[in-house]
């Protein structure tokens, strides 16, 4: 299907299915129940799942295939956001031109930064990308304020020109981004008993784009280009003496992953039309690294899993407070209850980053292949028990 082998096609279909039914899958608990706080089927959160999924898929094309660890990828996301918001300000509230410009701008930006950074490899490359990203952040925050809005960020205003739509702007409200009349914030709620499922147009728009991005990444992984990138990670010396020039390959990978980041930034601005410099800060770059590692570097599905996992945990864990904890452990004797709550408390709510840091360290130490490797190990464990399957997962190329 679509030029994919059976295995990849089924992977794509599974992801498509999950994404399509996400409003159901992420809202398994009835409204008002104690477990409802674990629901994640809100438009806002689901949009973030897929948008960061795109970001991580793109990052994985660079880091997963070539092994070049960029610590400045958030710069491209930020550039994409700014470009998209400018499109909304100048041209129209239609998201298509905004997203196209976001991708192109981020790609051009990545071409310049990549051309310079890729003259070095290893740790030097990481530090160069970090330096470029921090530089962009500093510039966006200060000197470039006329373009970036500085500290307050870039926002829409009533008197923006929006040359393609003069009529709609007269209502007196700042218009919202849409796609040919359909607004991104449009939602349809379905009530089934005590369950409420929300279907949001913005989410589905992002989801479709994410599936396309995912499909393209599968094609890249399976292409001669992808094979060359893996060869670069494996042995650049041999590649050089085999008549291949690694640099244009890595540059192409860098630009492609920069464009993915720009796409994510453009979508982010399309869902909520503002852009701020903090999106380019190096912790934001670190976050996409975390997502990719957590899910599984160099695997197809890993980055999507990692992005979903981190954004889900962020949302849920940071919402838990001590009252909720006391509620959970109410069955324990009072003293013990307090002790347990005190022990867990640093890791929840505002302590979410602590949990994240610990999880991340554990993954790097014990499970360098991320969740995908963990899953494979589990599958092997159970698979071997069920039947002596001669085709063990380890002999296959990393999926």
């Amino acid at each position: 299907m679509f030029g994919l082998n059976k295995k990849d096609a089924s992977l794509l279909l599974i992801v498509a299915g999950l994404v399509a039914f996400a409003p159901f899958l992420l809202n398994p608990f009835p409204e008002g129940s104690a477990m409802a706080q674990f629901n994640a089927g809100y438009p806002d959160l689901m949009q973030r799942f897929v948008i960061f999924g795109i970001f991580a898929i793109g990052f994985n094309i660079l880091f997963g295939l070539t092994g070049y660890l960029s610590f400045g990828h958030a710069a491209f996301l930020g550039v994409g956001s700014y470009a998209a918001v400018w499109m909304f300000k100048l041209l129209s509230m239609n998201v298509l031109p905004a997203i196209v410009l976001a991708v192109i701008t981020a790609g051009a930006f990545a071409l310049i930064i990549g051309y310079v950074s890729l003259r070095r490899s290893g740790i030097y490359f990481s530090i160069l990308t970090l330096a470029f990203a921090q530089m962009s952040f500093a510039l966006a925050y200060s000197v470039l304020t006329p373009i970036t809005g500085g500290e307050t960020g870039l926002q829409l205003a009533l008197d923006d020109p929006r040359i393609l739509e003069s009529a709609s702007a007269s209502e007196g409200n700042i218009p919202v981004p849409g796609l040919f009349g359909l607004e991104m914030r449009d939602s349809f709620e379905m009530v089934m008993g005590s369950w409420v499922f929300t279907f949001n147009f913005g989410y589905y728009f992002c989801a479709v784009i994410m599936l396309i991005a995912f499909y393209l990444s599968i094609r890249i992984f399976r292409s001669p280009f992808g094979m060359m990138l893996r060869a670069i990670k494996s042995n650049q010396q041999r590649l050089n003496y085999t008549g291949v020039n690694p640099r244009p390959y890595t540059l192409a990978a860098f630009v492609i992953s920069g464009m993915y980041a720009g796409l994510a930034g453009g979508l982010m601005a399309s869902m909520d039309p503002l852009a701020g410099a903090e999106r380019m800060f190096w912790t934001a770059s670190g976050e996409v690294v975390l997502m990719t590692i957590l899910g599984g570097v160099g695997t197809l599905i890993g980055p999507v899993l990692g992005a979903g996992m981190i954004k889900y945990m962020e949302n849920i864990i940071s919402k838990i407070n001590s009252d909720i904890l006391h509620g959970w452990f109410a069955f324990l004797p009072d003293g013990l209850e307090d002790l347990v709550v005190t022990m867990i408390y640093p890791f929840i709510g505002k302590g979410w980053h602590l949990t994240l840091g610990i999880v991340f360290m554990l993954v790097v130490i014990f499970l360098p292949g991320g969740l995908v490797e963990g899953g494979q190990k589990l599958a092997n464990l159970f698979g071997r028990k069920k039947a002596d399957n001669p085709k063990s997962a380890s002999t296959e190329p990393a999926e």
Binding site: G3, N5, L216, R219, I220, R222, S223, P224, F225, G226, M227, M228, R230, A231, K233, S234, N235, Q237, R238, L239, N240, Y241, T242, G243, V244, N245, P248, Y249, A252, I256, T395, P397
Partner: protein
């Protein structure tokens, strides 16, 4: 006029004269061995041929064109393939993928952006890779993870990767270093077979006299960065200068 012409090559590292006035001519379709004691400059010379080092003075002509100032991948594209002392392969890739990369490099040149086409659909290149694997008796290992193979197999794979490019000149840097006698003999047989089947020039740097005398048609003896003698194996065997500089030491 040989396919490879090295003229008056000098190379210094700080105070050390690694190569001094090296002249070498490798005739087309011959097997030319370069021998010499440790530190004679064999590896430096080889690195000057493949673009890893640039000689201070002198010229290196391959097939009528200068290789100086070209990068390793450009020199490979001219038709020189190199086998390393310790096998250099793509350890994270399967044997088949290892074979496909030189096939792509030969067909597409040093860079081509086939980002959407699938590797599986490249039937012609796969056939090439497979028949080469058959030739070196590795077809049954085609889907193996190449890092997990034995050193002998890695060496064979590396050789196959070089040969599938149909190079005009194959450079071998101590191809049997660290190998058991049986593996060494296999390698010799493989090289002889390759030599018979193809129009290929082989330049080999080797310590093992058994390998050198089984393969080489001409031998250059290098000592202290300068060619001592160049002659046929028969003459080299009895040459007093060589005995003094090399064989004497080895015995």
């Amino acid at each position: 006029m040989g396919i490879l012409e090295v003229k008056d090559v000098n190379k210094r590292f700080g105070g050390l004269q690694a190569l001094g006035k090296v002249n070498l001519s490798v005739a087309e379709n011959s097997c030319h061995a370069i021998i010499g004691p440790n530190g004679a400059g064999k590896s430096t010379l080889l690195n000057c041929l493949v673009g890893k080092l640039i000689p201070d003075t002198g010229s290196v002509m391959f097939d009528g064109q200068s290789v100086l100032g070209r990068t390793p991948f450009e020199i490979n594209q001219m038709g020189i393939s190199r086998v390393f002392q310790t096998p250099e392969i793509f350890g994270d890739l399967t044997v088949m993928e290892n074979m496909l990369i030189p096939c792509f490099a030969r067909r597409d040149g040093s860079f081509a952006l086939h980002g959407i086409r699938s590797v599986i659909s490249e039937a012609e290149l796969r056939d090439q890779a497979e028949s080469m694997l058959e030739e070196v008796n590795m077809i049954d290992k085609r889907d193996m993870h190449s890092a997990s193979m034995s050193r002998g197999d890695k060496r064979r794979l590396e050789m196959a990767m070089c040969l599938v490019q149909n190079p005009k000149l194959l450079l071998l840097d101590e191809p049997t270093a660290g190998m058991a006698r049986a593996d060494t003999n296999n390698t010799i047989d493989l090289l002889k077979e390759i030599k018979e089947k193809r129009n290929i020039t082989i330049a080999i740097i080797e310590h093992d006299m058994h390998v050198v005398f089984s393969l080489a048609e001409r031998i250059t003896v290098l000592a202290q960065g300068t060619p001592l003698v160049e002659d046929t194996p028969e003459n080299i065997k009895g040459h007093p200068k060589v005995k003094e500089a090399y064989l004497g030491e080895a015995a």
